[in-house]
Symmetry: C2
Subunit: 379 residues, 2 copies
């Protein structure tokens, strides 16, 4: 087994380290850009790497429907297909089958559904999800779970969590099929239980019993708000194994990430930096700005004067604003690159602060700079 985690330094509950995989190292805390359909939208993979990403996320649900996992396997796997040689984590399909597919039906066996693309009929189960993620050549495979709706009663949440735990065991058994893929790569379990401490604890204990290579927290960032999310982390993190990676799924905004790192999370993924890049939103050290706003159209300054990305080193706000207003593809290209660079630089800053045991000061600066707000328009 080539998968392991070295924790290099801690500061309070936060930790920085390295996850070793068959495809290379992941520096933690790590942010994983989302490459839904075998591409981080509007980005070449070499540019994604230049932003500082060590690992990408791929989506089982999207890829199983188009171009299909079998086709990708025949073409040499997802890494080769999309020209990304470093680690890839794949989700299990559990979340997106609930949010995107049509005519879903959940049974003990799994989820049957129709494709949102062409209406074709499919089935996802722990066994099928493991098979797809193996065909893709995923380096970090996620157990198949049910995405608990939010809000949900304690009873609904418990039933859903217990189903996910049975599916977690089936995922484990299906993943460990004696294949080289299973020997070389990792399987993560997903702690569910909504906003109920007792259920989160039950879920974490059930997963530890099975023994995964890493542990994710699922079912957050679904509308519960940052306070509730941090509260769930506060009572869930103490029961998560310290020696293994901890991954907060689908999170989040920059301040969500900072707060979660303070609470001991190692890995994140979110569509926000890439999706925002396509809608004209830019993340900066002074907060989020809307490049569609007319205040930018004459501004010769860069989006974020401290940013090293090619958008900020070569273009003005006026130009990026022109591109976005004109619907030019280069607009999303530059803004996505900028936003992903912002996220990766935030992660690098967090890693550096933890390694110097100065996370408190870093977080204080982070919030103070954001509170200053965007630079004033040129008059």
């Amino acid at each position: 087994m080539t998968f392991s985690m070295d924790i290099i330094e801690t500061d309070g509950n936060a930790r920085t380290g390295v996850i070793n995989t068959a495809r290379g190292e992941i520096r933690t805390p790590a942010f994983m850009p989302v490459g839904t359909a075998a591409t981080v939208k509007a980005m070449k993979p070499e540019t994604v790497r230049e932003t500082g990403a060590d690992i990408l996320l791929g989506n089982t649900y999207h890829l199983m429907l188009r171009p299909t996992a079998e086709r990708i396997a025949k073409l040499g796997g997802l890494h080769k297909f999309m020209n990304w040689s470093r680690p890839i984590l794949t989700d299990s399909g559990g979340f997106q089958v609930m949010s995107l597919a049509k005519l879903r039906k959940i049974t003990e066996e799994g989820v049957s559904f129709q494709s949102h693309i062409d209406g074709s009929k499919h089935m996802l189960s722990p066994e099928r999800s493991m098979e797809i993620q193996r065909l893709l050549g995923s380096n970090i495979v996620m157990a198949f779970d049910e995405c608990t709706p939010y809000p949900a009663s304690e009873k609904e949440t418990e039933d859903s969590m217990l189903l996910s735990m049975r599916w977690a065991k089936r995922s484990y058994d299906a993943f460990h099929d004696g294949s080289e893929h299973a020997q070389m790569n990792a399987l993560f379990g997903i702690v569910q239980g909504g906003v109920f401490e007792k259920l989160r604890h039950h879920s974490a204990e059930a997963l530890k019993e099975i023994d995964f290579n890493g542990y994710a927290i699922g079912g957050l960032a679904v509308g519960e708000g940052q306070d509730v999310m941090f509260e769930v982390l506060d009572y869930t993190m103490p029961v998560m194994p310290k020696s293994k990676p901890r991954y907060l799924m689908g999170v989040g905004k920059p301040d969500d990430i900072v707060g979660a790192v303070e609470r001991g999370i190692d890995m994140f993924d979110c569509v926000m930096p890439s999706r925002s890049g396509r809608t004209g939103q830019a993340f900066t050290r002074r907060g989020t700005i809307n490049m569609k706003n007319s205040r930018h159209i004459d501004d010769p300054r860069t989006i974020d004067e401290q940013c090293r990305c090619s958008a900020c080193s070569q273009y003005s706000r006026a130009y990026v604003s022109h591109l976005i207003r004109s619907g030019e593809i280069l607009g999303p290209m530059l803004l996505t690159e900028h936003n992903l660079t912002y996220y990766q630089d935030l992660m690098a800053g967090l890693r550096d602060a933890i390694s110097r045991k100065s996370l408190g000061g870093f977080v204080k600066d982070f919030h103070e700079t954001r509170a200053e707000g965007d630079i004033a328009p040129i008059t």
Copy 2:
């Protein structure tokens, strides 16, 4: 005056050389990618340069409406605005005001019209076109002319051509305003006259009388077909000055370019390689292929095995086909890069063949390879 042309070698009517500008050299025959709204769509300028482009084309009509020439001037000019330091040729707006604007009215003074973007009212005249192209910082300014409709009678074509010749003189007078811009950069006249030899000769003589830095042929590639276009070139080229650049506007398909180079053309522009990249069409040495076609979805081979572009060196047809089918932005990014590389490699091949006085063999190979057709699908 820093603008000049050195003809290095000829082969029949074809020539290869270098156009010297204030922003650097242009190797001829040259293909100019179209950067309509201050961007070659879906391309970073450094990638455009990597394809082999020495010069870009910018559109007066689009830029005057958004973000406006005055705004670009205030921000330091078009080169700085779009991060392209090499030569830029700007069209006069004459063609696009006729094809895109609403409620056009042509008078001796110029063309009044409404913006296709927001309906705002504008005027383009020789004087205003020269002012806009100066504000943009264009290195090769095009005289303002009327785009003669096609088909048109000889009388209509003559009236239109004569108006364009009066506007050419006004363009010349307005361009030569004693500014540093006029001293450092070039003004090209545009030969009109449709498909009538007598009118083309009249137009060319009228422009030579005024004395431009280069001469374009306008009003072709508007539906007349390749045979007619080549016929017009056959009788127009002999009356075009040999010592100055000759530019065939808006052309064209690869075989149009090859035939026009054989007839002595030095410069080309066309949206085809970039527009096709956004609709899934790929140019290859074996002809044009449609990446939406299902024959490509399992094909591990590259689009064109002889192509050096990053799409062809890093991705399969299967992947590019997946991107195009999925509507992913990376699809147009890769295909545009490929198509522009194909065009630039074609120009490099033509330049090399002329310099070795072996254009005939190059053209024969070019047609024979295309006649072979695309590689057979993998079965």
